[in-house]
């Protein structure tokens, strides 16, 4: 009886395993791109959606720019369009990384592709990472397109001298929000929440991030206890860091968040450390819970839809 040579694995062969997992992720990326491409109207809607979102905030910005600029304070400059464009772009970035794991797992479960993914010889975590390639494919271009719309059409201004640091921050933002996304996805199997509102996503994105993180206004307008609460989610640090780095009127120094005020380090360092710490905690926790969820579902018979 012949075993498959392409999947044979000797213990300790870390590189071949890693290479195979990376090749699998690439296959996911190609598939996701092809699926996106196959619905041609998607491409148009994608651009229209970005344009309309940016336009909406431009109009709000026009209405309130004088007052809003005063609220931004020296740390975030005085251009509300720049402030809001960064907020909107990063919020979309965070939202998809946080929400996609659960929604993609659910979709795969209901259309039966989860059976296939769990039966292939890759790690049970690879599909989760594979789904995220779509987010990366979608989000990074979106980041630039939102920025471009904001700059070219709506009077937002950006500086690019700190672009490399900003890109580094987006990686931290992606990782930390994906950690929460994995915890959210684990509830699909661990708590058997297969319909309705997923509580982790609702709590973090629907409640805390929407109200407290400072997408549309600086956290300084909030009561002090809520400002501290805002410091519990990655969104707050993401907005703060990217605005400081990309807005030409913003300052790199000058503490805004309560945590920044409490610590003797530069605000950007605090942002980076907070996002890094959240990544270190949330990603392993997400992996642990998701793995537990898979095992529980395997015992309960809820791993795949069709029995």
């Amino acid at each position: 009886m012949s075993a498959r040579p392409q999947v044979s694995r000797a213990k300790g062969q870390l590189w071949p395993t890693l290479r195979r997992e990376l090749a699998t992720l690439w296959a996911f990326a190609v598939r996701e791109y092809r699926m996106w491409q196959s619905y041609r109207v998607n491409q148009l809607m994608w651009l229209v959606n970005i344009f309309v979102t940016t336009l909406l905030f431009f109009l709000i910005g026009e209405m309130v720019k004088g007052q809003a600029a005063r609220l931004l304070g020296p740390a975030y400059g005085n251009n509300y369009m720049s402030f809001i464009v960064v907020g909107v772009a990063i919020n979309v970035f965070l939202y998809t990384n946080l929400a996609d794991p659960y929604t993609r797992i659910a979709r795969s479960y209901y259309n039966g592709t989860m059976d296939l993914l769990l039966l292939s010889p890759m790690s049970v975590f690879t599909p989760l990472f594979g789904f995220m390639t779509k987010s990366i494919l979608d989000d990074y271009p979106r980041l630039f397109v939102v920025g471009a719309f904001g700059m070219l059409l709506f009077g937002a201004a950006f500086r690019f001298q700190y672009s490399l640091i900003a890109i580094g921050f987006t990686v931290l933002i992606l990782a930390s929000s994906f950690g929460i996304g994995m915890i959210s996805a684990s509830s699909f199997y661990l708590l058997n929440i297969k319909r309705g509102t997923e509580p982790v996503r609702f709590l973090v994105q629907g409640l805390l991030a929407t109200l407290l993180a400072g997408t549309y206004y600086p956290v300084t307008v909030l009561p002090r206890p809520l400002q501290w609460l805002a410091c519990l989610i990655p969104h707050t640090y993401a907005f703060d860091a990217l605005r400081r780095l990309m807005d030409p009127g913003a300052e790199l120094g000058g503490a805004v968040l309560p945590v920044q005020q409490a610590l003797p380090w530069p605000p950007l360092l605090v942002d980076g450390l907070a996002l890094g710490l959240m990544t270190l905690i949330l990603v392993p926790l997400g992996l642990l819970l998701y793995g537990r969820g898979i095992e529980k579902a395997r015992r309960d018979g809820t791993l795949t839809r069709w029995q």
């Binding site: 009886m1 090749a23 259309n111 059976d115 296939l116 039966l119 509102t197």
Partner: protein, 357 residues
């Protein structure tokens, strides 16, 4: 695993599903929704975790499947076939019992996954319908760790084997159901795994493609050294395909043996196939020699009804049945009598039990 060791060895496997969760419809949980999740998360979890109506899907199933065999798992709907095959695939953990698949304990699911191909026609069959047949198959090849060149070569071979090379560039959504089933069989042909699990691979296929698929199962897979487990609830035409089969009823292995051995259990049964124009189920009791009646009205202007009647082998059985049948009205258009086949064995568990008595 050596060549003499069974590819599948299951000992007293049992599976109990925890049961369905109670509906939240009309309860506070439904009306308060997310607010309650936050407010009373602990209570909500306890409430939703309450299980009722545990389902006993498998009970004391023991099987040994040998290398190179084409083994059938047959049974009526709900008999536990898919549960059993998902345990073999590592998608389900058994509640009781132990076993080995491809030389690995059932707990070693990662190892088992590398040695098992699983094809299921349920749901969307694991296909992305926006992608082409080729893209679907090649994606799976890449998931299984094949290089780009090898994935392309194997994809071409597999699509050619199932007769889909000319349609490779068509989106799955544009293919017929039978063609989609051939795409998923192509996916199974990609790999050279020791064990191939095929869950109802011929459902919905026309006779030509059904025979072609069964030929692939019978000739191609064993020739490559692969053991095949074929799950089906329609045993027509399987007798020439299977080396051995297990018949499941209510989660238990009711019979196990070669198709010939299994059918011989019904040697005192005859099957009458009748076609009538009009005619309802007779009001009077059936003759004592009638063991089972399956009545299937055929839609259309001719108002035909097909009857499959299994009877004990006795003189004048046909006459007795005709008299009884005509008492319900209508006229008989066609009559034929045949020896029982494999499908007749699990058409009714009561029939099988009676035959074995």
């Amino acid at each position: 695993m050596t060549a003499s060791q069974p590819v599948v060895e299951l000992v007293d496997i049992g599976k109990t599903y925890p049961g369905t969760e109670p509906s939240l419809r009309g309860t506070k949980l439904e009306t308060l929704g997310p607010a309650l999740w936050l407010k009373k998360l602990g209570r909500a979890l306890r409430l939703t975790a309450v299980s009722e109506n545990a389902v006993q899907a498998l009970e004391e199933v023991s099987l040994r499947i040998h290398p190179g065999e084409v083994f059938g798992i047959l049974g009526a709907n709900g008999s536990g076939k898919t549960t059993l095959v998902k345990i073999m695939a590592g998608l389900l953990a058994p509640s009781r019992g132990s076993g080995r698949v491809a030389g690995w304990s059932l707990h070693r699911t990662a190892e088992i996954r590398r040695r098992v191909s699983y094809v299921s026609t349920t749901g969307w069959m694991g296909l992305e319908w926006a992608l082409t047949a080729e893209e679907n198959v090649r994606f799976f090849a890449r998931l299984c760790g094949m290089s780009g060149a090898l994935a392309k070569e194997r994809t071409d071979q597999a699509l050619a084997a199932v007769g889909l090379l000319a349609d490779r560039q068509k989106a799955v959504s544009a293919l017929s159901n039978g063609m989609r089933q051939r795409v998923i069989l192509a996916r199974a042909l990609l790999l050279r795994t020791p064990l191939v699990l095929l869950d109802e691979p011929t459902v919905g296929l026309d006779p030509v493609h059904r025979n072609e698929m069964l030929r692939l199962v019978r000739e191609v897979l064993p020739a490559r050294g692969q053991t095949v487990v074929l799950v089906d609830h329609q045993a027509d035409a399987l007798e020439g395909v299977l080396d051995r089969a297990a018949i499941l009823a209510e989660g238990r292995v009711e019979r196990l043996g070669t198709p010939g051995e299994l059918v011989s259990a019904l040697r005192q049964v005859r099957v009458l196939e009748l076609l009538t124009r009009g005619g309802d189920m007779p009001a009077g009791p059936a003759p004592a020699l009638v063991r089972q009646v399956v009545r299937t009205p055929r839609p259309g202007p001719l108002a035909l009804t097909h009857w499959r009647i299994r009877v004990s082998e006795q003189p004048h059985a046909l006459e007795s049945v005709l008299v009884w049948l005509l008492s319900g009205g209508g006229e008989v258009v066609q009559v034929s009598e045949r020896a029982p086949a494999l499908a007749d064995l699990f058409a009714s568990s009561s029939l099988a039990a009676e035959a074995g008595a």
